[in-house]
């Protein structure tokens, strides 16, 4: 079960070494089956794995911390500079706590949740300094707090130190998190997916900060992530974990370009790339190179299937204009003084897939909710098939509601945990009230079949399903009424890369099979060529770039898009 490190590239003494680490739940189920790795000063080791692989558990164990319900059952962790010869896991809690934040520090995944919302950021940094008796006076500590904020590239005047976390952007919050972890000059930093949820530009900035800090101050970094493109950018060495075991270990170049273990290869294949060279997913549907198809954004394979009246070979491109399914014009929405959507105009053709790209706060979810009628506070018009839709689902006809279906970001909260999959998927059919129970059941089975979930899922509840399966069920629920427009709101961002690949795969084949149009909302630009024929880039409530995917990626019109493209991590 346990794995040993086959190749150790460096001979320097490690700052931290984990040796045969075992962790189990208090109920007795083992989570880590003997995990070993070593961290070298000034180098970053990436700990790669999908959710449930135990990578966060391993990372926290390095700090001698085990979450509620977990306990250490074997193995050792040695930390140079801890002043301890033995394993730090043998120390009493109070001793371990003295190491945390001092000799070894932690950068959490979501700074919005991990910074205390009621404490000023300066005070949060000062606190860690005070606890570890860094400096002799508060003035000295304040100086250090200012210094460390400057090091992560933030302002550091008194006013900035006095800000609350909610007054900062996501990227700034994460850099405060890093500053806090770095304040006491630790020997080791454990970074737990610190860039998940940030747009690529901010991510690039954060990664650069981490890289510089590690190098300049010889800090050893343990970088926990599932994003292999990020690994390529920051890590010196990589450890790949699969359900509590280390399956591959080696220098980054070797693991990424000459992977030995089949799981590593599977992970690598699932990573969407901007160039569209890789084929995401396993089913030979329209993915990879083919995804980038249409030059004019109209003559997609999907459109040809549905619009039987239209001849695929028709030479005139004109019909494309008449065929637009969704037309949004002059859409505006403001919450108080905050202009969330500031005049949105675009058209979406029938059978066309469009990516709506934007970072958090750009208004992309608000826009999609307006289109779906879930938000009725907007000004402007949304037309479907030439008919203007009323704002708000209640004011729309049943047929119009069926035409536009929505898939939510998190399959963990969008399915009622007390209902079986069949009951959940059936709901939209009950709303129309036309079908008998038997017909409905039949339709539900068809829909589940479309998303590649068998009959055995009918009577299961969301709790028994994996994240990917739940998202498939949620997609099935959107499909039962055979919509003409499917709005997918960040449907893959709560999922692992390999699951993301299969969902993308599924959506593409569904779109081809049914000829529906799709609005794919995301912050992940790397998915562009894998999912959409056209794309719109949204920034602060405005569309700054709009066109065929090829056009936007090759010839971006706006600085923001150019900046995003320049910062996409690739390998």
């Amino acid at each position: 079960m346990s794995t040993s490190i086959s190749e150790n590239t460096t001979t320097a003494t490690p700052v931290l070494s984990a040796d045969g680490l075992r962790v189990a739940t208090t109920a007795g189920e083992e989570i880590l089956h003997g995990v070993s790795f070593e961290l070298q000063p000034g180098k970053i080791l990436a700990l790669v794995g999908e959710s449930g692989s135990g990578k966060t558990t391993a990372g926290l164990a390095c700090l001698g911390h085990f979450r509620q319900g977990l306990e250490h059952t074997g193995g050792e962790i040695h930390l140079a500079g801890s002043g301890q010869d033995g394993s730090i896991l043998d120390l009493p809690e109070s001793e371990r706590r003295k190491l945390r934040g001092g000799a070894i520090s932690y950068v959490p995944q979501d700074p919005a949740l991990s910074l205390n919302p009621a404490m000023r950021i300066g005070e949060q940094i000062m606190e860690v300094l005070r606890v570890h008796r860094y400096g002799d006076s508060d003035a000295e500590r304040r100086g250090r707090a200012a210094e460390v904020l400057a090091e992560v590239g933030l302002e550091n005047d008194r006013a900035y130190l006095g800000r609350y976390p909610h007054q900062l952007s996501g990227g700034q919050q994460q850099r405060v998190g890093i500053a806090m972890a770095f304040a006491c000059r630790p020997a080791v930093m454990v970074l737990d997916e610190p860039t998940t949820g940030l747009d690529v530009t901010t991510q690039a900035l954060v990664l650069q900060t981490i890289d510089q800090l590690a190098e300049r101050h010889s800090v050893a970094g343990l970088y926990i992530t599932h994003d292999l493109a990020v690994v390529a950018k920051v890590a010196d060495d990589v450890v790949v974990m699969l359900s509590g075991d280390v399956v591959e270990h080696g220098p980054t170049a070797q693991v990424l370009y000459r992977p030995q273990h089949h799981y590593t290869r599977k992970l690598l294949n699932a990573v969407p790339d901007l160039a569209g060279k890789r084929r995401v997913g396993s089913v030979a549907a329209i993915t990879g190179e083919q995804a980038a198809v249409p030059q004019d954004g109209s003559a997609s394979h999907a459109a040809q299937i549905t619009t039987a009246d239209r001849h695929p070979a028709a030479p005139t491109p004109a019909p494309a204009a008449h065929r637009s399914l969704l037309e949004v014009s002059g859409l505006r929405l403001a919450y108080g003084e905050n202009q969330v959507l500031d005049g949105i105009d675009f058209k979406l053709g029938q059978g066309e897939s469009m990516m709506l790209l934007g970072e958090s706060g750009s208004g992309k979810t608000t826009l999609s909710r307006c289109i779906a009628g879930l938000n009725d506070d907007y000004n402007g018009t949304v037309c479907l098939d030439g008919a203007e839709l009323a704002p708000g689902t209640r004011a729309r006809s049943a047929e119009q509601r069926q035409q536009v279906q929505y898939v939510f970001q998190s399959p963990f909260s969008s399915l009622n945990p007390r209902r079986t999959i069949c009951e959940s998927v059936e709901v939209p059919l009950q709303m129309s009230g036309k079908m008998s129970r038997k017909e409905r059941r039949l339709r539900v089975r068809e829909a589940l079949d479309q998303v590649r979930l068998g009959d055995s899922y009918l009577d299961r509840r969301p709790g028994d399903l994996s994240g990917g399966e739940r998202q498939r069920a949620a997609i099935a629920r959107a499909l039962v009424n055979a919509p003409s427009l499917l709005v997918c709101d960040e449907v893959t961002s709560a999922l692992d890369v390999s699951v993301q690949a299969s969902i993308i795969d599924l959506l593409r084949s569904l779109q081809t099979d049914t000829g529906m149009s799709m609005l794919f909302v995301t912050h992940n630009i790397a998915l562009a060529r894998h999912i959409s024929q056209r794309m719109a880039v949204l920034q602060k409530g405005r569309i700054v770039d709009l066109g065929s995917t090829e056009d936007v990626l090759e010839n971006p019109q706006h600085d923001y898009t150019r900046e995003l493209l320049a910062n996409v991590p690739t390998f």
Binding site: L60, L63, H65, R67, Q68, S94, R97, K98, L99, R100, G101, G102, S105, Y106, P108, D110, L113, S114, L115, N116, P117, A118, M119, E127, V128, V131, H132, Y164, H166, Q167, L168, S169, M180, N338
Partner: protein, 317 residues
């Protein structure tokens, strides 16, 4: 602080709405106040004279506004039963009830916070199970049952050590007889504390699971400081809402407890006033209890605002 001003304005509006309701409710009470005061043998002339004196013949709207105006200057009208001003009659009573309420809150709030936090920190262990069980049982018992149980236990056969009724000579302050305060206070404490404990435990558990508490531990902050500095402030603001409801409940619930212990507070006064059809007193007390309700809720909102910088500083970046 526009948000606090807005809450304040809402509170004033609610209070006005309550005053209308109280006034209308007393209008709807069956019978005639003048008749009630003078009794069945009263001559029509005397009834008419009294009605004139009490302004009962004025239009309803005018009576409402003169009553409302009186509230603002502390003129609560003339008690029909005693003939004296309501404010003089109630002043003492309010003081007595206040003593009870303040004593009960001063005990139950810290106890509730402490026990709730203790229970949360010992999640799933014996200490947690015991406190959860006891607080559930107490929460299920109505105040008169608790009161009677305490009387049985401490002033009758088992341990006859405490007085079961309050017997201060009229004109003397209740707090001159501290022993007599023990049982009524204890009853209120036992009624109120379980709710605060349970709410405190629930919010504390949630806060202890939060990212910032884990982060504070991973920063190496000592556990004591983690609880006091990072967890407690966040747990308090939702609990403040429950505390407000409990305190407000006490202002009204004190009626039963005071009646049980013959305690000369507003509860007793209210019961007597209703029995005597003393409309002015009923109105004054209802408005008073409503005002307490609104004020404590306002205070709870303020706690919420003060512990949440997002509300305090607005959403500006």
């Amino acid at each position: 602080m526009p948000i606090i001003l807005r809450r304040l304005a809402t509170s004033v509006l609610i209070l006005l709405a309550v005053s209308v309701m109280v006034f209308v409710a007393t209008l709807l009470l069956p019978g005639d106040p003048a008749q009630a005061i003078l009794g069945q043998q009263a001559t029509p002339e005397r009834l008419a004279a009294l009605r004139e004196q009490m302004n009962l013949n004025d239009p309803v709207l005018q009576r409402y506004f003169s009553w409302l105006g009186g509230l603002f200057v502390g003129d609560l009208g003339i008690s029909a039963a005693s003939g004296g001003p309501v404010s003089a009659l109630l002043g003492e009573r309010i003081g007595a009830s206040l003593v009870l309420l303040v004593a009960a809150s001063l005990i139950s709030l810290p106890v509730g916070f402490l026990v709730g936090t203790y229970s949360a920190l010992r999640r799933g262990r014996t200490g947690d199970h015991v406190t959860t069980g006891v607080s559930l049982v107490l929460a299920a018992l109505p105040e008169f049952v608790i009161g009677i149980a305490l009387i049985t236990l401490f002033s009758t056969t088992v341990f006859p050590i405490l007085p079961s009724v309050t017997m201060a000579p009229p004109g003397e302050a209740v707090w001159n007889y501290p022993l007599q305060l023990v049982l009524p206070t204890l009853t209120l404490v036992l009624v109120v504390t379980p709710y605060i404990t349970r709410m405190m435990r629930a919010t504390m558990l949630e806060v202890l699971d939060s990212g910032y508490v884990e982060m504070a531990r991973l920063k190496g902050v000592p556990e004591r400081q983690v609880i006091l500095r990072h967890a407690l402030p966040h747990a308090l603001s939702p609990v403040a809402q429950v505390v407000a409801i409990q305190l407000a409940w006490m202002a009204g619930g004190v009626v039963v407890v005071e009646f049980l212990f013959r305690y000369p507070g507003i509860g007793q006064a209210l019961v007597d006033a209703v029995a005597n059809r003393d409309v002015q007193v009923v109105q004054a007390l209802s408005i008073l209890i409503a005002a307490v309700y609104i004020i404590v809720n306002l205070l709870a909102d303020m706690v919420g605002i003060l512990t949440n910088p997002k509300l305090r500083t607005g959403g500006t970046r």
